[in-house]
Symmetry: C2
Subunit: 359 residues, 2 copies
């Protein structure tokens, strides 16, 4: 490990996003196995890695298609070989409908909608493409983000999609909170009954989230699952009980560049590298593997400011340490390059082709 | 404004980072005028905009050089015409010293150091370049980031730099807290007296920070100032009392894509666009110009989740709104493209050439 750290620092420079491909392969296999065991299709969310090479590994391992959050991600992944793409997001506006129509001419496109305005826009994309678009109703069963909040709205929206020329109702998109199986099942059952009465079947029920990989089987009738973070894992997934430290495939290698005070150290990775997200009750902004008792207490843009008060073995200037970030997705998004390693060897670097795609 | 918003949505797509060039020009002129009035050189920090075109505007307006935080930024800006670059950061390691040496062969390079290890590494870069390197001692007078914390350490480090072959002592780098003029003056005076006794002059005293543009003149002997955010300004600079709303040159144009509940809306700009930084006592994650009473309450990666409880005039799905981010620097860093506008017209797009430079 000391040798690999030295080589990364010498040949790549720090901070560097270092991906252990053995761990990535195990993580991909685990996600696939969890989906297989539950009898649901695996449709990984590429928003975590944004890399064509990693997407291809997911497809090769058995994924039935992919999930994207932005058209720009879908365009990159279609170029890279994806042929069944679900954009789990409300798309609207002329510029996006043109791009969606272009994608529809190349690959199977599925999109989400949670309101009639979006449905109306999507029908224009279908008209422009000259073919039908698969549309799923996004339902919110407790996360309080996007999605219709009541079964009545979901039913009305599904009927609207069925009635809209160019659109094909493709089922329900769910992103249930980890403890909301009962509420979600009640919601889905109410929608199913009402739509059945109208002669409308539900082709797919898509669930999402890495922690929910442990809850597969709880949502009756689920047909597929969208997990993003599980390819890398991170400190939040450790806190959520999904992953162990050894399952965190992406570590940020960073150098201690200053020891301003006995109880303070500075990493060359700040908010522009590790990003400022917290959640799952985490304290601090990352786990330092060599000094787990050191806290990444605060950030400047290029400074990670360490509180070493509880740290007996304190790092010195020039030390390279490995950090598991709190949330890996925004970290990858800001960085252009991943460094792939295996068995302590550097395999090479790989572009994050869809990083920073705004639209 | 409605027309421009429609055009941005139609021709560029949202979210988009829209820069009003009239405001940018006024902001650049104001920063230069504040430095001129105080008799200090203006050395803007390009970490905010990371754009060659904007850097050139700063130089044309009178900046004496630029400040960078990373070698990768300096390389891009040297390619773009900068010829006097200060990297206000501890650099160390073989990979960085090679790149620093290469830059020394092209432009005047100045760097910071706050410890002997960094000084030793810098001497290797100088040897590799075959010419002297200008080194400033980074001093911490209260910010608790990098920098030596005592005058005694600063004195010792300055003497070490003077004694190190290949290095030229270039003065002090300060980044004083906004209320720390007295403490900082005492620190600097102690260093000055001791170095004078040893026959060592202080060629430059560099101060930093946009809010400190209002404090120029308070640090005795200051010769230059490094401000970054003042080219764009943001919600933090409004909270800091430096900027008014009309002085915020970069606004994120974003579309309301969902109204999940009466008191909730969803923007198509989340943490991967607006970033999750707070500070200066701010509540929420941005100021929505059309709905200032709406709160950007929380984020998913691509969702900005609005709390509309205190909002009488609530936005509807499809509305395009303009957001002043809390902190503009990480927003620009994650995005590849700026949209330049003037007088309601779209001038074109411009690359953020140094975005996401990790090293």
């Amino acid at each position: 490990m000391t040798e690999l750290k030295s080589r990364i620092a010498r040949e790549i420079g720090t901070p560097a996003l270092v991906v252990d491909m053995d761990v990535v392969e195990r993580n991909i296999a685990r996600t696939q196995a969890l989906c297989d065991a539950a009898g649901v299709a695996n449709r990984p969310h590429i928003k975590t890695h944004k890399s064509v090479e990693l997407m291809r590994m997911q497809l090769a391992a058995g994924a039935k298609g992919i999930t994207c959050q932005k058209l720009g991600e879908a365009e990159v992944m279609a170029d890279g070989g994806a042929d069944d793409i679900f954009i789990s997001y409300n798309l609207l506006g002329e510029e996006k409908m043109s791009r969606l129509a272009a994608l529809m001419g190349r690959v199977t496109m599925r999109v989400a909608a949670d309101n009639p305005t979006v449905v109306e826009h999507l029908s224009r994309a279908a008209a422009q493409a000259g073919r039908d678009l698969l549309v799923r109703v996004e339902c919110d069963t407790g996360r309080k983000r996007a999605g219709v909040e009541t079964a009545a709205e979901a039913i009305a929206l599904a009927k609207l999609i069925v009635a809209t020329p160019g659109l094909t109702f493709d089922g329900l998109m769910l992103y249930p909170p980890e403890d909301a199986a009962a509420v979600t099942n009640k919601f889905v059952e109410e929608v199913r009954a009402a739509l059945a009465e109208a002669g409308i079947g539900i082709p797919s029920i898509s669930t999402g989230g890495t922690p929910n990989l442990l809850n597969l089987g709880q949502i009756a009738g689920a047909t597929e699952h969208r997990a993003g973070t599980s390819i890398f894992n991170d400190r939040m997934m450790m806190a959520a009980g999904y992953a162990q430290e050894a399952e965190c495939a992406l570590q940020v290698y960073t150098t201690v560049v200053s020891r301003g005070a006995p109880e303070r150290g500075i990493l060359d990775a700040g908010s522009k590298t590790l990003t400022t997200e917290t959640g799952w009750g985490l304290k601090g902004h990352g786990l330092i593997l060599e000094h787990p008792e050191a806290e990444v207490a605060r950030f400047s843009e290029e400074h990670g400011i360490l509180d070493l008060a509880r740290c007996n073995d304190r790092p010195k200037v020039g030390d390279v340490v490995r950090v598991i970030p709190n949330h890996i997705c925004p970290v990858v998004n800001v960085v252009g390059t991943l460094v792939f390693v295996r068995g302590g060897e550097i395999l090479g670097t790989s572009d994050v082709e869809a990083r920073g795609k705004l639209t």
